[in-house]
Symmetry: C2
Subunit: 124 residues, 2 copies
């Protein structure tokens, strides 16, 4: 996050979609052990009611960042319905790093809630 | 907002800073009658506690959009402390349009709150 703050013109408004998706990708791995990219369709459906449709490519980039940060890892696993086919599945590699990242994002979520609450109180 | 939705890769995540600033710029004009650009320093100070510091240039662009949309207008007014100097002040031009815009932004604020609440509930 420090790097982003150094960007020219960065003003620190609401959180970035990337961090938001990474949060979910960690929780899914914590809860389910491992999942394939296909399973992430759930994430796309979940927020439809709020008019938010994360792009396939953005989810993919979030997964890649988590692997670069040693939080998730990828392995090959047999595909459920095809005995001799394999798919890539993602799982938690470093549980402590995962928790630390989630704490950071929680602080950012609270910060954003503060901004929105203030705006509602001040303007309506 | 419709135009933005047509942007390539637009996913409808959290609201844009521009709309957020326009909301405040309308409310300030509703409450104070008119104000000069200097008065907007208040807006910059207000959100410091949340790590959000709107840029001068971004506030200026928001003011300009509001003028293009016939919501605000600009006029010359005498400067308080200098008898023969003038400054530009902004005031509400179309009260109904201003209200309609605020209603739109309220819906967006509520939508964003929904996204953030969902994430907190799902991940913590």
């Amino acid at each position: 996050m420090t790097e982003k703050k150094r960007e020219r013109g960065y003003s620190g408004f609401l959180m970035r979609q990337r961090a938001f998706l990474k949060l979910y990708l960690i929780t899914y791995a914590e809860e389910s052990g491992s999942y394939g990219f296909q399973a992430l369709g759930l994430l796309k459906d979940k927020f439809k009611q709020f008019g938010f449709k994360p792009q396939h490519s953005e989810i993919y980039r979030a997964l890649h960042e988590l692997m670069e940060e040693d939080i998730l890892k990828r392995k090959k696993a047999p595909k459920d319905d095809a005995k001799y086919q394999e798919i890539a599945v993602y799982y938690i590699h470093d549980r402590e790093r995962a928790k630390a990242y989630k704490r950071l994002v929680k602080a950012d979520l609270d910060r954003c809630m503060g901004i929105l609450h203030t705006a509602i109180r001040d303007n309506y």
